[in-house]
């Protein structure tokens, strides 16, 4: 289905009469708006630290809680977009800013968001002393840190790889910087940015649920939401409530998937450089079609278009008028009215190169000083409280977690590669499973942890063994997507050739399929492994009623000291995790990635 027939369909109908779709679409949209407004009005509830917040386990309270959770998500994604649109263009266009922003994002990506919570919550509570806004902000900030980095990186990369011919066209036709940004750069970056935003949001649900129930420094703060509902259900050992929460979350994710994720994917197809003939899987969304068919929404679209026109072009028009005025002033023989300005202006233009050069130096020196002092502060802070032996122990715990993750990756790969390849090679199955996997990736898997815990307790199982798979339950889907995509990308001719030469069984895997999916597999495995580190913070300490199961690993170290409010140890645990993630990324994943790109890519 191409885009044009859709528009034609709309255009041929009579113009002013509202159609049946109007009612449906308007009801949905009005409902969404009303719900969000209701949720927002409850965020600023008065609150004092230590005051218990009662979370009702009555299922009728769940829709309200779900709404509060969704609202937090939207605020966080809005902030992430804001960050993306400021940081990425800065880094892409200014070499000095790039030096700061890109390494910062690289490292920030490795910091587990849930660890951040322990550190920022105190600050936020102090900023908003008598209101629940403090913990709210802290929770939102956590989701922000889980989302913003890869969005900004994606946008930055798109800006840097803008095709030369677009740049030249923009220059020849003299688009202003502002027009260039909105007409060319943003649309070009849109598909990748949108995909990353959606992936970020999907990953965000996990952190959101985990950060609503904040246990820090022996304080339990419960923000009204599904996460706190689950926490309360665990404390009360109420299995029914857990099932209600899972059902509510399924509904939320389903709505998110159908009303936001899918329509946006379809919309973003418009920005792709090439028509999507090659990948037979075209995105479809009933909601997007509904919005297009709705007549009364066309007024909003027209208003939006008019606004876009004004916002993109008008600033340039003003600038041009200013320029023309100044040109006029220059050309006229009359001396400039503010003649006193000319001397300093002239002086400024002569020292400008020296000035900008020294700015660069000052900036670089400042950067180095910042890094050194931050390192010094961290080392001193940790060293003051913690012995060297303990640091060694924490590194040992890190290696245990790393080992668990490696084992999990191997096991899930063994399980998913055959299934993923089977799905990927079969277009009909792919049509069914791809959306399903995307849906599952968004579901916050920590909601089902309590079910596993009751299982472990009931059958008296080994905690270290049986809690380990929980780390990968939520993030394995990235591996699955990529295996499916990799198998789907194998040229059909290559498969036919293999069939023709009787390549079968183990040889078929070793010579054809495994090398072909390798680049995709590496991307998926890298994301999955990164997600596992984050999940270990939640999955290593499991509770049910008054019982607590603790698995050995870095995750449980961080969680325990966060709860008891031991900041040096929390900081140490987080630093070590950050170091592990960074080092493994550089030494293992990037190397494999290079290998995949040079040896196993199909181009």
């Amino acid at each position: 289905m191409s885009i044009q027939p859709r528009y034609q369909h709309v255009a041929t109908e009579s113009l002013h009469k509202p159609n049946g779709w109007d009612l449906v679409a308007l009801l949905i949209i009005a409902g969404i708006i009303a719900a969000l407004v209701w949720g927002a009005s409850h965020m600023d509830t008065p609150y004092h630290v230590g005051k218990p917040i009662i979370i009702s386990l009555d299922p009728s309270a769940l829709p309200g809680y779900a709404l509060r959770t969704v609202l937090r998500m939207f605020i966080a994604i809005g902030l992430s977009l804001l960050f993306t649109f400021i940081a990425a263009p800065l880094a892409a266009k200014n070499a000095q800013a790039e030096k700061l922003i890109i390494p910062f994002i690289d490292i920030a990506e490795a910091i587990p968001p849930l660890g951040v919570l322990a550190i920022v919550i105190v600050a936020f509570i102090q900023w908003f002393p008598d209101s629940l806004l403090g913990p709210e902000c802290a929770a939102i900030f956590v989701i922000f840190t889980a989302q913003a980095w890869n969005m900004a990186l994606s946008f930055y990369q798109s800006l840097r790889t803008l095709p030369l011919e677009f740049q030249e066209a923009a220059t020849v036709f003299q688009l202003s910087g502002w027009q260039r940004f909105w007409r060319i750069e943003v649309p070009y970056a849109m598909p990748a940015l949108l995909w990353n935003t959606m992936m970020s949001m999907s990953a965000g649900w996990f952190f959101l649920v985990a950060s609503e129930a904040i246990s820090v420094a022996n304080q339990h703060i419960l923000l009204p939401g599904i996460g706190s509902y689950i926490y309360q259900a665990i404390v009360n050992a109420n299995l029914h409530a857990i099932l209600y929460a899972i059902a509510a979350m399924l509904v939320v994710i389903l709505l998110y998937d159908q009303l936001l994720f899918r329509p946006l994917l379809v919309w973003a197809d418009k920005f792709k450089l090439h028509s999507s003939d090659d990948d037979a899987q075209e995105n479809v969304s009933w909601f997007y079609d509904l919005l297009l068919k709705t007549r009364s929404l066309r007024i909003f679209r027209r208003l939006f278009d008019a606004f876009k026109e004004w916002a993109i072009n008008q600033p340039s028009v003003y600038v041009m008028q200013l320029k023309r005025l100044s040109l006029h002033a220059k050309q006229s023989t009359r001396p400039l009215k503010c003649a006193w300005l000319q001397k300093p202006l002239h002086y400024f233009s002569s020292v400008k190169p020296i000035l900008s050069q020294s700015c660069v130096w000052a900036w670089n020196i400042g950067l180095i000083l910042c890094i050194v002092s931050a390192l010094y502060a961290l080392v001193r802070f940790i060293h003051l409280y913690i012995s060297f032996a303990e640091i060694r122990h924490v590194f040992f715990l890190g290696s245990i977690t790393a080992g668990k993750i490696a084992l999990l990756i191997v096991l899930t790969s063994l399980f998913w590669i055959p299934i993923g390849v089977w799905i990927g090679l079969n277009p009909r199955l792919r049509g069914i499973f791809q959306p399903l996997v995307q849906f599952l990736a968004a579901f916050p898997i920590n909601l089902i942890y309590p079910l596993v815990v009751t299982g472990i307790l009931y059958y008296q199982l080994n905690v270290d063994v049986w809690s380990t798979p929980l780390m990968i339950l939520g993030t394995q889907w990235y591996l699955v997507f990529n295996i499916i995509a990799g198998a789907a990308a194998i040229p059909p001719e290559t498969l036919l050739a293999a069939k023709n030469f009787g390549v079968k069984g183990f040889l078929w895997w070793r010579r054809l399929v495994l090398p072909a999916i390798f680049p995709y597999y590496i991307t998926g495995a890298m994301t999955t492994a990164g997600g596992c580190w984050n999940a270990s913070i939640v999955a290593d300490v499991l509770k049910w009623g008054d019982q607590t199961l603790i698995a050995t690993g870095l995750g449980s170290y961080i969680t325990q000291y966060t709860e008891s409010g031991d900041f040096p140890r929390t900081a140490l645990g987080l630093s070590v995790m950050c170091i592990y993630v960074l080092v493994i990324n550089r030494l293992v994943w990037h190397q494999l990635y290079q290998l995949a790109a040079s040896r196993f890519s199909m181009e």
Binding site: S2, I3, Q4, Y7, E165, F166, E168, A169, T171, V172, F173, Q174, L175, S176, Q179, R183, I184, P187, M190, K270, F271, K272, L273, H274, S275, E309, I312, N313, S316, V317, M320, S598, R599
Partner: protein, 438 residues
């Protein structure tokens, strides 16, 4: 029909790039050129002759290293409203409709929406895109897309239209159709355009289109000859006058080739600054060479092959044909003289030989006549393990050539050397050696 007011004039124009070693590599060196009103000028040359660089300098997309460009009386230091450009790969924005793409340049000028729309629709009408206003570029065929490219350029009413191989991404029929429509517009004066500067590598296209043709030579890019085309439009590609001009162009372009090869050999032998092995081998594969040699027997008459005829029957444009003939020439399999190709005895022997003997013959000629092949072989022979990293040779070449050009050169010689079994190359390790794969 050219008048005497120059639209564009260039003086002492030079453009160079600096390689990693800090040496300046000159890609374009023009003493003087003027484009007059009511004139279409084509720049014809092989890839790498700096013709696209010239176009970008005129468009204000790049700055010259030295020299000046004037548009009427104004110096070109950046893009100028009176100059618009048509791109080789269209450069249309896929997220904008045809109409929105055409409006882009007017938007940049800050024109109000109503006026903009009116003018764009008119241009769309003229260029034959009526009915496609609301289509997205990806729905259109290549020819229609380039029409959008033309409309987008013409709507800003440029006095000078510059075109970077505008028809080369299109198939033959579509290109002809679009070229004829453009000429009709030009001859009927339906646009405000006063001059067209067009880069092409298609000799016939240049002859069909232009009042003047500048033949460009490489290393550094420069004007080698200027051909005036006084034939009336529409031109007949089968007329005698047309064919005479065609032969003349082939003759000039091939003569230069021969001289350049000889020239490089003589002057650079004693030249330590620019060793022989840095000679820029043409970018052709062994199978293309073999294919051409085999095809040559069919076209030979009294020992000579007419190049325009060969190019026509094999559908080769100058970007494909000249590198091939140059390679045959430097390998001493054939000889180029004034628009003709003469098969030499080694070439004949090569055609008659079987696969193994072909390889032997090729290896012999490679070592004898291609300094880079000889150089690599000598280095490998003198190395105790007979294994040398490709970086070594790349670094050597980069002292004289750009990074990109060095990589290209090494890729060509690896292809030739592998075929001749002079040396082996391990892609994963990036190592050249004398080993055979186990």
């Amino acid at each position: 029909m050219a008048s005497h007011t120059p639209l564009i004039s260039l003086k002492h124009l030079k453009k160079s790039f600096t390689n990693p070693e800090g040496q300046a590599l000159t890609v374009l060196d023009l003493d003087h050129f003027e484009l007059f009103e009511n004139e279409i000028v084509s720049i014809l040359g092989k890839s790498g002759s700096g013709k696209s660089t010239l176009l970008r300098l005129v468009a204000g997309l790049a700055k010259p290293t030295s020299g000046t460009i004037h548009y009427q009386s104004e110096e070109v230091t950046g893009p100028i409203p009176g100059i618009a450009m048509v791109f080789q790969n269209f450069a249309l924005l896929p997220w904008l409709t045809v109409l929105e793409n055409v409006e882009l340049g007017l938007e940049a000028q800050g024109m109000p929406k109503q006026q903009r729309r009116q003018r764009s629709l008119k241009t769309i009408d003229i260029i034959g895109l009526d009915g496609f206003e609301s289509a997205y570029p990806k729905e259109l065929s290549g020819g229609m897309r380039q029409r959008v490219g033309f409309a987008r350029a013409l709507v800003v009413e440029p006095e000078l239209l510059i075109m970077d191989e505008p028809f080369s991404a299109l198939d033959i029929l579509t290109a002809e159709n679009l070229r004829n429509d453009l000429l009709d517009l030009w001859c009927a004066r339906r646009t405000r355009t006063k001059g067209i500067l067009c880069v092409t590598h298609d000799i016939e296209e240049a002859l069909l289109l232009s009042d003047r043709i500048l033949l460009f030579a490489s290393d550094p890019g420069r004007i080698q000859a200027e051909i005036k085309v006084d034939l009336p439009y529409p031109r007949d590609a089968n007329s005698n006058a047309f064919n005479r001009l065609m032969d003349k162009i082939y003759s000039i372009m091939t003569t230069s080739e021969r001289e350049r090869v000889r020239h490089t050999k003589e002057t650079h032998l004693a030249d330590i600054e620019h060793p022989e092995y840095a000679y820029r081998l043409p970018d052709v594969s062994v199978s293309e060479l073999t294919g051409l040699l085999e095809a040559m027997t069919d076209h030979e008459s009294d020992g000579r092959i007419d190049l325009p005829e060969l190019a026509d029957s094999l559908h080769l444009d100058i970007n494909n044909l000249f590198p091939l003939t140059e390679a045959l020439d430097i390998l001493r399999f054939a000889q180029i003289t004034r628009g003709h190709l003469i098969l030499m005895s080694a070439g004949k022997a090569f055609i008659d030989a079987d696969i193994l003997h072909r390889k032997q013959l090729f290896a012999e000629h490679l070592l004898k006549y291609i300094p880079l092949a000889r150089h690599i072989r000598e280095v490998l022979d003198s190395n105790p393990q007979h294994r040398v990293e490709e970086e070594f040779f790349l670094n050597e070449l980069e002292a004289f050539l750009s990074e990109e050009e060095s990589e290209r050169l090494l890729k060509v010689i690896i292809d030739w050397g592998r075929y001749a079994e002079l040396f082996a190359y391990d892609y994963d390790a990036g190592i050249l050696s004398l080993e055979n794969p186990q």
